[in-house]
C-alpha cells in the first residue's frame, strides 16, 4: 500500500520536523543558538555511543556495556590527569585502550565462552560500574581531593583536553558548533562509509543476517564479531573522553542516562528511511531525535522523571514502526 510505504520510509523524519516545529511554538527560546548548542552537546555524546553500538547490532549482537565504558573512560581520564598528573595525550590513549580492552573481553565472552551477547555485556556493565568507583572509594575526582592513602591529588585537566569540551567553532552563528559535534560528524561519516562501502562492513551485515552462510562463504565470523565489540568499546570510550572534557571533573554521578539514550538512538535508526536494519545515518538521525526531544521537554519544564517515560515511549513506537509495520524485521 502506497501510503503505508511512505509512512514507513519517511515517518520518522517527518516526526522529527514536526517535533521541532511543536517545540518551537510551545517552548520559549527553543529556537535560539544557545538552545541549539545544548542540543548539540547532548546529541554528540549520545550519537558517538550509538554509532558504536550500531556496529554490534549489525553483526547480530548487542552491547549493553557502552554506558559504563563511557563513564569508566571519563573517570579514567580524570584519574590519569588529576591523580597521576599526566598530560592530555596520555589520558586519551588510556581511555581508548580501556575501550578496546573491554571490547575484546566482551567479544571473547560472547564468541569463545558462548555467553549470550545481552548477558555478557550486562555483566560487564555491572563490573565496570563497580570498578570505576574502586580507585577513589566511590567519590568524584577533582583537583585537590584527598586520596584514600592520604595524599592529595594536585593534577588538573589539561587545557587541550578541556578544549575538547569547551571550544566552539563558528558556523553561520559565532560559537555555535562544539568540538564534540565535529567529532560526531567525523565518526558518523567513518562508520557510514565503513558499513556501506567497504568489504568489512558488507561482511558484517552478512554475519548479522546469516552467520552460517557467511562462514561457508569463507568469512572469519569469530573475528568479525569480536571486532564489532572492540569498535563499540572504543567509540564508547571516545564518548567518555568528550564527557570528561565537558564536565572538567570525574563526576561519579554523571552519565547514567547514556545507555538508554544511545540504545534508543540506534534502535530508532532502524526505522529511519525504511532501512529495517541498523545503519549509521539512521543512528545519527535517532540521536538528533532524542536530543531534540529532551531539550524540548526540559524547556517546557517537564519534570525529569517524565523524560524517561517519553524516551521509552518513543523507543517502543520506533520498534513498532520497524517490525510490525514494515513486515521485514531482523532478529
Amino acid at each position: 500500500m502506497m501510503v503505508r510505504d511512505h509512512a514507513i520510509r519517511y515517518g520518522f523524519i517527518v516526526l522529527l520536523f514536526g517535533l521541532i516545529a511543536y517545540f518551537a511554538v510551545a517552548a520559549d527560546g527553543f529556537v535560539s543558538p544557545q538552545s541549539a548548542v545544548f542540543i548539540f552537546q547532548s546529541v554528540a555524546i549520545t550519537g558517538v555511543l550509538a554509532l558504536g553500538v550500531t556496529a554490534t547490532l549489525v553483526v547480530g549482537g548487542f552491547d549493553l556495556s557502552i554506558g559504563s565504558v563511557a563513564t569508566s573512560a571519563m573517570m579514567a581520564a580524570a584519574y590519569v590527569m588529576v591523580v597521576l598528573e599526566q598530560n592530555a595525550v596520555v589520558a586519551v590513549v588510556v581511555c581508548l585502550l580501556i575501550g578496546a580492552v573491554v571490547g575484546l573481553i566482551n567479544g571473547w565472552l560472547i564468541v569463545y565462552m558462548r555467553v549470550p551477547d545481552l548477558l555478557a555485556t550486562l555483566g560487564m556493565m555491572f563490573l565496570l560500574v563497580g570498578l570505576q568507583r574502586i580507585p577513589t572509594e566511590g567519590r568524584s575526582i577533582a583537583t585537590g581531593m584527598t586520596m584514600p592513602d592520604g595524599s592529595v591529588a594536585n593534577g588538573k585537566f589539561g587545557e587541550a583536553f578541556l578544549a575538547l569540551g569547551r571550544h566552539r567553532f563558528d558556523f553561520f552563528v559565532p560559537n555555535l558548533v562544539p568540538v564534540s559535534v565535529v567529532v560526531l560528524i567525523v565518526l558518523a561519516l567513518l562508520i557510514w562509509f565503513f558499513l556501506e562501502y567497504t568489504r568489512f562492513g558488507r561482511m558484517m551485515y552478512a554475519v548479522g543476517s546469516n552467520e552460517r552462510a557467511a562462514e561457508l562463504a569463507g568469512a572469519p565470523v569469530k573475528a568479525y564479531k569480536i571486532w564489532a565489540y572492540v569498535i563499540s568499546g572504543v567509540f564508547a570510550s571516545i564518548g567518555g573522553i568528550l564527557l570528561a572534557a565537558r564536565l572538567g571533573r570525574g563526576d561519579i554521578a554523571s552519565g547514567n542516562n547514556l545507555l538508554l539514550d544511545a540504545v534508543a538512538a540506534a534502535l530508532i535508526g532502524y526505522a529511519v528511511l525504511g532501512a529495517a536494519k541498523p545503519n549509521a545515518f539512521g543512528t545519527a538521525v535517532g540521536a538528533v531525535f532524542v536530543g531534540v526531544l529532551l531539550q524540548g521537554l526540559t524547556m517546557m519544564n517537564a519534570p525529569y522523571y517524565t523524560q524517561d517515560f517519553v524516551k521509552g515511549g518513543v523507543l517502543v513506537v520506533a520498534l513498532v514502526f520497524t517490525f510490525a509495520l514494515s513486515g521485514r524485521g531482523r532478529k
Binding site: 567497504t198 561482511m203 551485515y205 546469516n210 552460517r212 561457508l216 562463504a217 569463507g218 572469519p220
Partner: protein, 503 residues
C-alpha cells in the same frame, strides 16, 4: 504375527494451500508386526505421521483403529485412543530436569481425575510397573539430564508404552544411536512385537530395516509407491520404489577425465566406517548417491575444510590439501554449494547482487573499498548465464522462487573459476526447468575443473554425471560409469547389499 489390520488408512489426502503433499495414501498396520515406512525427504512421511498422531487435520480419506473411525483433533486424543508417537528428536520426548519415574508417569500430571497433590510414592509404584513391563533397567530416581541419549530414548519409549498403545510410531529412532545402543532398541522392539503392538518404523537405515522389517511400505511424491510383504523381503525393490525411475529426460554422454585434480586416500568419516579413496579429474562430473544419512554431507564438508576426517589425506594438483576452514578451501579453489540454502547459503537481508558476490568480496575491492561496478557486472553475468528469472540484480531474494534462489547460489560460486566445484543436494526444492538449466551449465562449464554432486535421487545422478559413486554407511561402496549402467547393481549398493571396492 497378526493377520487383521489393527490400523488402517484409506485414501488419505492433505494439501497445504495448493500444494498437495499427500495424494491418497492407503496402508495397513497389523498387530505384532513391524511395518517400515521408507521415503526420501519430501515424500510426505512426516506429514503422514503428523496426521496419524493428531497434529494435523487430514484433508480427505479415512483412518480406522481396531475397526472404529479414528479422527484425532489433538495429539492428546490420539494418545488416548491408543496411537502413540516417539519423535526423532529424543529430547522432545522427555523432560530433562525431572527424574525417570516422573517422566514415565508424565502424562498423568494433568487431565481430569488427577489428584491435586503430587504423591511421590504412587508415582514410583506406577513408574516401576511401567518399567518392569518393558524390561527397562534404568534407575528410576536418576535425573534424565544425567542419562545418555540412548537411555533417554528408552525412557521416552517406555513413557509411550505406559499408555498401552495399540499402535506405536517410531520416527528415525536410531539416528543418534551407536550400533550397540541400536541393538538394545531392536531387542526392545522385538519384545513389543511379542506383546502384540503394531509398530510403524520410519527409517532410512538399511541395516535397521533388514533387521526389523516384517513389511515395507515405500512412499514417493505423496503416494504409496510399493508394498513389500512377501518373504524374503525385496529390499532393492523397496529402494527402487522409493527413489523411483522417472522418464529419462536428458541422455548424458559420459566423458573421461583428462587428469586428476583431487585425490583422497584412506579417508575415514566416522568411527567404525571403512576408509575409502577416490579421484576426481578435470572435465568430468561425478555424482555421489546414497540414502539419507550415509555420509554425503559429511564428505562434502570434509572436502570443503569445514569438517575434520578421522584419518586420511587429500592432495590437490599434486600438492597436499588439508584446509582447516572454508576460507582456506576457497583460496585453494574448492567451492561448495551447501545443502539447505535457507540456513547455509542465502543471506536474507541481501539482494541478488550482494548474495552473488559474498565469498569474493576481497577480489572485488581495492584497499578494502568495494568496487560496485565489478560486483554488478558479476551478478548480471550470472543472471544471464543461468537464466535467473528476476527484474534485475537488485531484486530481493525473498521475491524469487526456490529454483531461482538456487540458481543464485550456484551463480555465486560459478562467478569465479574453481578447481573443484562441489554441490550438496543442489536440486532440493528446485523445479524441473531450473534443474535442467543448472545441470546443463554444470556440464557445459566442466572443463578445467572437477565437479562433484551429492544427490539422493538416482534420476539426478543419471541425468548429470559422467561417473556415479555410491555411498553407504559412511563409505564408498561402488562406482559406475554412466553408460549402459547396471541399475540392479547400483540399487543393491544403495540398499546396502554386498560391498564392492571402489573400482
Amino acid at each position: 504375527m497378526g493377520t487383521d489390520a489393527v490400523f488402517r488408512v484409506d485414501g488419505l489426502r492433505k494439501s497445504f494451500g495448493h500444494i498437495e503433499v499427500l495424494g491418497g495414501i492407503s496402508l495397513e498396520l497389523h498387530a505384532g508386526e513391524v511395518t517400515v515406512l521408507m521415503g526420501a525427504n519430501g515424500a510426505g512421511k512426516s506429514t503422514l505421521v503428523k496426521i496419524i498422531s493428531g497434529v494435523y487435520e487430514r484433508g480427505g480419506g479415512t483412518m480406522q483403529l481396531a475397526g472404529q473411525d479414528f479422527a484425532p483433533n489433538t495429539p492428546a486424543e490420539a494418545i488416548r485412543a491408543g496411537v502413540v508417537t516417539v519423535h526423532q528428536n529424543i529430547n522432545d520426548g522427555v523432560v530433562a530436569d525431572l527424574d525417570v519415574a516422573t517422566n514415565l508417569t508424565l502424562d498423568r500430571l494433568s487431565g481430569s481425575g488427577v489428584p491435586t497433590f503430587f504423591n511421590p510414592g504412587r508415582v514410583r509404584r506406577e513408574a516401576k510397573a511401567v518399567a518392569d513391563r518393558m524390561g527397562l533397567a534404568i534407575d528410576l530416581k536418576a535425573r534424565v539430564s544425567d542419562l545418555s541419549l540412548a537411555d533417554r530414548q528408552m525412557v521416552a519409549i517406555a513413557r509411550a508404552m505406559a499408555h498401552r498403545p495399540k499402535v506405536l510410531i517410531l520416527d528415525e529412532p536410531t539416528s543418534s544411536l551407536s550400533s550397540a545402543e541400536a541393538d538394545r532398541l531392536f531387542q526392545l522392539i522385538d519384545r513389543l512385537r511379542e506383546q502384540g503392538v503394531a509398530i510403524l518404523y520410519i527409517s532410512h537405515r538399511m541395516s535397521d530395516i533388514r533387521r526389523l522389517a516384517d513389511r515395507i511400505v515405500s512412499m514417493r511424491d505423496g503416494v504409496v509407491s510399493g508394498v513389500f510383504d512377501n518373504k524374503p523381503l525385496d529390499y532393492e525393490g523397496a529402494v527402487n520404489a522409493m527413489l523411483g525411475r522417472k522418464i529419462h529426460l536428458d541422455r548424458v554422454v559420459a566423458r573421461n577425465s583428462a587428469h586428476p585434480v583431487l585425490t583422497v586416500d584412506g579417508l575415514r568419516l566416522a568411527p567404525g566406517a571403512r576408509p575409502f579413496s577416490l579421484t576426481l579429474g578435470a572435465g568430468e562430473v561425478v555424482a555421489v548417491t546414497g540414502l539419507v544419512g550415509v555420509g554425503k554431507t559429511a564428505l562434502a564438508e570434509t572436502l570443503f575444510g569445514v569438517r575434520r576426517p578421522l584419518s586420511g589425506a587429500m592432495t590437490m594438483d599434486g600438492r597436499p590439501y588439508a584446509p582447516s576452514s572454508a576460507g582456506e578451501a576457497i583460496a585453494a579453489g574448492v567451492f561448495l554449494v551447501a545443502k539447505d540454502r535457507a540456513t547455509s547459503g542465502i543471506v536474507g537481508d541481501f539482494n541478488i547482487e550482494r548474495n552473488v558476490s559474498l565469498p569474493f568480496l576481497k577480489r572485488m575491492s581495492g584497499l578494502g573499498v568495494l568496487k560496485r561496478r565489478i560486483e554488478r557486472a558479476a551478478a548480471r553475468r550470472q543472471i544471464e548465464e543461468l537464466a535467473i528469472v528476476c527484474r534485475s540484480e537488485k531484486d530481493e531474494m525473498g521475491a524469487l522462487s526456490g529454483g531461482n534462489q538456487q540458481k543464485v547460489m550456484v551463480g555465486r560460486w560459478m562467478s569465479q573459476p574453481a578447481r573443484l566445484f562441489i554441490l550438496d543436494e543442489p536440486f532440493q526444492g528446485v523445479d524441473i526447468s531450473a534443474r535442467r538449466d543448472i545441470a546443463a551449465k554444470l556440464r557445459a562449464s566442466a572443463d578445467g575443473r572437477a565437479t562433484l554432486l551429492f544427490v539422493t535421487e538416482l534420476d539426478e545422478a543419471l541425468e548429470t554425471a559422467d561417473r556415479i559413486l555410491v555411498m553407504s554407511e559412511q563409505t564408498i561402496v561402488g562406482e559406475h560409469r554412466n553408460e549402459d549402467i547396471d541399475l540392479e547393481r547400483l540399487l543393491a549398493e544403495v540398499a546396502g547389499g554386498p560391498l564392492h571396492s571402489a573400482a
